[in-house]
Amino acid sequence: MAEAANATPQLVCLGLNYRTTPVEVRERVAFPEAKVPEAVHEVRSLPGFEEGVVLSTCNRVELYATHSLEDPQAAHESLVDYLVRRFELAQEQAEALVTYKLDAAEAARHLFRVVSGLDSMVLGETEIFGQVKAAYQKALEAGTTSRRLNKLFQQAFTVGKKVRNETSIQRGSTSVGSVAVDLAEKVHDLKKCRVMLVGAGEMSRTCAQSLLSRGAHSIIVSNRSHERAVEMATEMGGTALRFDEWEAALHEVDVIISSTSAPHFVIKPELVREVMRKRRWEPLLIIDIAVPRDVDPQVNDIEGVYLYDIDALQAIADGERRKREKQLELCEKIIEEQLAKFGFVKNP
């Protein structure tokens, strides 16, 4: 392979993500966390390559590198060959490997978009910022980055922060689970928040896990099948309650997530009025994710009770998603300005 003598190292990015590649292939070429330091060394050791960073998440695998090869196409081919060799892909798998190959400004633009959450499955999600930071840190510790990639990643983090601070792309919740958490946080101090699941469906598990991950105090699970309640409670570090006992314990919890398969209302105004009397007006959030609904809508008229059914949660999540989409143009503008500022492109 021909190397350019004394030339400035060229930036290259080779990647695949949830848009280009199905999960069956993505999981085949994902780098386990412990193997990333080894991988960055392997990338840097490729002929003509000087630096390397490997970003591997459940939604994407991306290799960022610098090289001094004359032909950028050769650099791309070299990285594809590396992936094929590294993961011992059969010929048909290698042929099915759809990747994006980006150079110089395109690679920088892509990294800036990734770090800002614009390339994520959930637009504006913030987790990717930390994942990129961790990937860079691993490469830095492994000694596989130098001037060019160090500068690029620092610039990317600056852009990510700028997008976060100057737009509302990362604001609001776009999933039912995170909307439930937002609501719980605005009713109670989450650290003192006791949660009860009435019915042990998948959706209520997701909501409960979101609450626990954000610091909810404790969880009680009650289900018609007590074994299922015990199983879910054990999994989440909570306690199980027999299904004929949940009504009596209702006044002790601050958030109720209901998802039974009952064909009629199981939480009625009379019951909630009594609960509120015992709670001395302490606010109560009820999330009804059952279809048909478990909670009589009249419950929302009771003072201190805030009732949200699945449609209300979904409407909030959809509204927030639309707000984020409206911010996209502003984010792209910031990225273009930053690309110009850092000299990747001429002034936009």
Binding site: K186, D189, P283, E303, Y306
Partner: protein, 260 residues
């Protein structure tokens, strides 16, 4: 314009300007309290300077005329905002405090015969000064109770009507607001009780209307305290009471300074 009034005018301007970044932040959905906090701090520094210079001019704590009472109460409100805001995690309190204080100070300039000269006192009675200062600090606590009540009612409305966005994300949890109302009311009541206790030590007599109004306000908030403590009313009703109840001390300030 005297130096104290120049400082007061500047501080009023700072409080008015402090509302602008907050409104802009709410409209854009990007909430950053730092700019507003700095403007509040600047307003408070200027306000403190104004109160100090006014005290030097009248050679006593400036709390005798309606305009002075409004300024001193406004100063106490901002002082309490800096003291209790972080404690109760009610950072948005500044958003509501700034216009209230700006309005009080504008009113102080607008009242007839604003900032009059005081008749020279032979001797300053420290107990009278303490009594008045504690009473006005108590009124400031009631003003913050009123603001917190408004915040509670807004958050309650957002939660009930599923209006999630903008201000909703900035307001503290509804349970925290209910707690803040209880604590601020208790703080105001303790300060006013101390002020009234001090009044028994006074050698200089206080006019009857002043004492009657002070006891009237104390009674109102004591009843509110009992109502809250006994859970007679729901938090929403309590918030209404806290918000609307401040009208009474506010009117009493005007009455005691103009007719006392």
């Amino acid at each position: 314009m005297t130096a104290d009034r120049q400082l007061l005018a500047l501080s009023t301007l700072a409080f008015m300007v402090a509302v602008i970044p907050a409104v802009r932040a709410l409209l854009s959905g990007q909430w950053r309290t730092s700019r507003q906090w700095l403007l509040m701090l600047a307003g408070f520094a200027l306000q403190t300077g104004a109160v100090f210079l006014r005290g030097e001019t009248v050679r006593q704590c400036p709390m005798k005329s309606l305009s002075d009472v409004l300024v001193f109460t406004g100063w106490s409100v901002v002082l309490l905002y800096f003291l209790v805001g972080p404690t109760y995690r009610v950072s948005l309190l500044g958003f509501f405090t700034a216009p209230l204080v700006a309005m009080m100070q504008l009113l102080a300039f607008a009242v007839p015969n604003a900032f009059p000269d005081y008749a020279a006192k032979a001797k300053v009675d420290a107990w009278v000064e303490l009594h008045a200062a504690l009473a006005l600090m108590a009124y400031a606590a009631f003003a913050l109770t009123c603001i917190t009540g408004v915040m509670y009612l807004l958050q309650e409305r957002f939660l009930k009507q599923h209006r999630i966005g903008g201000l909703f994300y900035q307001l503290p949890p509804i349970q925290g607001l209910a707690l803040a109302i209880r604590r601020l009311l208790a703080l105001g009541l303790v300060l006013l009780s101390l002020s009234l206790a001090v009044s028994f030590k006074l050698t200089t007599p206080i006019s009857n209307p002043k004492l009657i109004f002070a006891w009237g306000v104390w009674l109102l908030y004591a009843v509110m305290g009992v109502v809250i403590w006994r859970h007679v009313l729901s938090p929403r009703q309590t918030a209404w009471l806290a918000a609307v109840g401040f009208i009474i001390p506010f009117i009493s300030l005007w009455l005691v300074t103009t007719h006392g």
